[in-house]
């Protein structure tokens, strides 16, 4: 039977995380379909049709899917249940919100955050903030899976999947969308950026993040942060990298004024090259950094900006 991937999108475009989830789905079964549930989501659906390896794109275009509320999307997934042996979503905040709801209604144990597919029923996933990797085999007839995007290469483009409309399903009316405050940025998204510059508590203030942004812009990089920097109100919550924030694995990760707590490392230690800039030579971040610079960030960042 086939695998259904729940697309992550904003109606106008497909989010990159969907591409990693498709790669994981293809490792489970060769027949992969993508579900685009949205409102006025034709462009997102067209983008999904072009993803390599996808044979069918199911579209459900209805007002109740304008925002991906779990209470609305779960009945739609359930209505398609008979045709699929596995349901896959990227481990984004949407995927994490929706998929366990589906799993419970199918009475299956979800496998969260997989980083590899060993066989159609066996997966690897990090536990304990990535300090251990567990291999688990699922005995459930249907699998419900979320995918850690850094574990899988993005699927390419050049596909031409068939487009099929599916009926919207009535959801419960006990939850509704009120408002959203989305950060607007022209910088690359953290989860797909090739280079990330992150700041920690050492930045001292939100204003000082301008130093990071200047360097990031020269590098075409995304900007991230530690939890301490987010808690202190320097930057919005969606900048947070770590066990409970975003998981990233860019080619280059530059940690500035970040000590290197286990929970922060959990979100970035699979980056290809890690650079640490910290004035404390004993900071734990240096134990995993490929290149360490023991110096004051207020000297280093302006210098970097000038040199680039």
């Amino acid at each position: 039977m086939s695998v259904l991937v729940l697309a992550e999108h904003d109606n106008a475009s497909l989010k990159d995380a969907t591409l990693n989830a498709v790669t994981a789905a293809l490792a489970i079964d060769s027949d992969v379909h993508v579900l685009v549930a949205g409102h006025n989501c034709g462009d997102a659906a067209a983008a999904a049709q072009a993803v390599d390896g996808v044979s069918k794109v199911l579209v459900s275009d209805a007002e109740q899917y304008a925002h991906p509320l779990a209470e609305a999307i779960t009945p739609l997934l359930l209505s398609l249940e008979a045709n699929y042996s596995a349901f896959v979503a990227p481990a984004t905040t949407t995927g994490k919100n929706v998929m366990p709801r589906l799993a419970a209604l199918l009475d299956v144990a979800q496998v969260s955050d997989i980083i590899s597919v060993e066989s159609p029923d066996t997966f690897k996933r990090p536990i304990y903030a990535g300090n251990a990797i567990q291999t688990v085999q699922s005995s459930d007839a249907k699998k419900v899976i979320t995918v850690r995007t850094t574990g899988f290469a993005p699927a390419g483009s050049g596909g031409s999947a068939e487009l099929v409309n599916v009926d919207a399903q009535a959801g419960s009316d006990n939850s509704s969308f009120v408002s959203a405050e989305l950060s607007k940025s022209d910088r690359p998204e953290l989860t797909s950026a090739k280079i990330i510059v992150s700041g920690g508590r050492g930045m001292g203030s939100g204003e000082n993040f301008a130093l990071i942004e200047a360097v990031a812009d020269k590098l075409g990089a995304g900007v991230g942060a530690s939890r301490a920097a987010v808690d202190a109100g320097f930057v919005p919550n969606d900048y947070q990298v770590g066990q409970t924030g975003k998981i990233v694995a860019p080619d280059l990760y530059i940690a500035v004024g970040i000590s290197g707590a286990i929970q922060h490392l959990a979100g970035m230690k699979d980056s290809k090259i890690i650079v640490a800039i910290n004035k404390d030579e004993d900071a734990p971040i240096f134990q995993i950094a490929d290149y360490g610079l023991v110096a004051d960030l207020f000297d280093v960042l302006p210098e970097l900006d000038k040199a680039l």
Binding site: A70, T74, T93, N97, P100, R101, A103, A104, L105, D107, A109, Q110, S112, P126, I127, Y128, A129, N131, A132, I133, Q134, T135, Q137, S139, D140, S172, N174, S175, S176, F177, V178, S179, A180, E181, L182, L219, R227, V230, P236, N237, D238, Q243, T244, L252, I262, K269, K272, I273, I274, E281, F286, Q287, A289, Y291, G292, L293, V294, L304, A307, L308
Partner: protein
Amino acid sequence: MKIIVPVKRVIDFNVKARVKADGSGVELQNVKMSMNPFDEIAVEEAIRLKEAGGVDEIIIVSIGPNQAQETIRTALAMGGDRGILVETGETVEPISVAKIIKAIVEEEKPELVILGKQAIDDDCNQTGQMLAALLNWPQGTFASEVKVADGSVNVTREIDGGLETVKLTLPAVVTTDLRLNEPRYASLPNIMKAKRKEIITKSTDDYGVDITPRLTQLKVEEPAKRTAGVKVENVAELLEKLKGEGVLS
């Protein structure tokens, strides 16, 4: 109204988990155990709602070994009113935890269940959503603000792109994110008082829930190790190295 807060006993967040040499799991002998940090936040939120008025009772629930009593006791010392321990030996998967909590919800009839968004041992991030599904209740996950009004609750959620607010009709499930609040420390008098608060012990059979795991753990291994690289003297040397690596042009 009543609030139920499920709390899990996990390895302390400051301890770096070590994989057992035989690959059978993570070393938990002689390791400091604590309440899951997100659950402390859940307990704190329930107490704040009670302090604001309108909440009669906070029931703390834990599913786990006998020592999970201590975890419940900690939550009672913070301000919970009474506890239920569902004693189990083996690991209980989120789907089974959700079924047990559902059975307790049906007995106790709370209007709000506040859970952590994720247990920091299994990192599953499932139980709250599963519970909401089984009860057919709405869910406000990854909450950074919870505002209860007449018959409903507005939950501001931390999502990948920023923040989102949803309105849920009560009864509802909420799961906590880190910035919802800063949990209090229990005062000595409250720790003493908590010793007299009731904790009842139950078994999974009492709730008729089959907790046989669906996932078989085949092995647990250490992640690929990263080793410390080199220290560079200055920005010029750093840039030269990065160009050498091909990550900067």
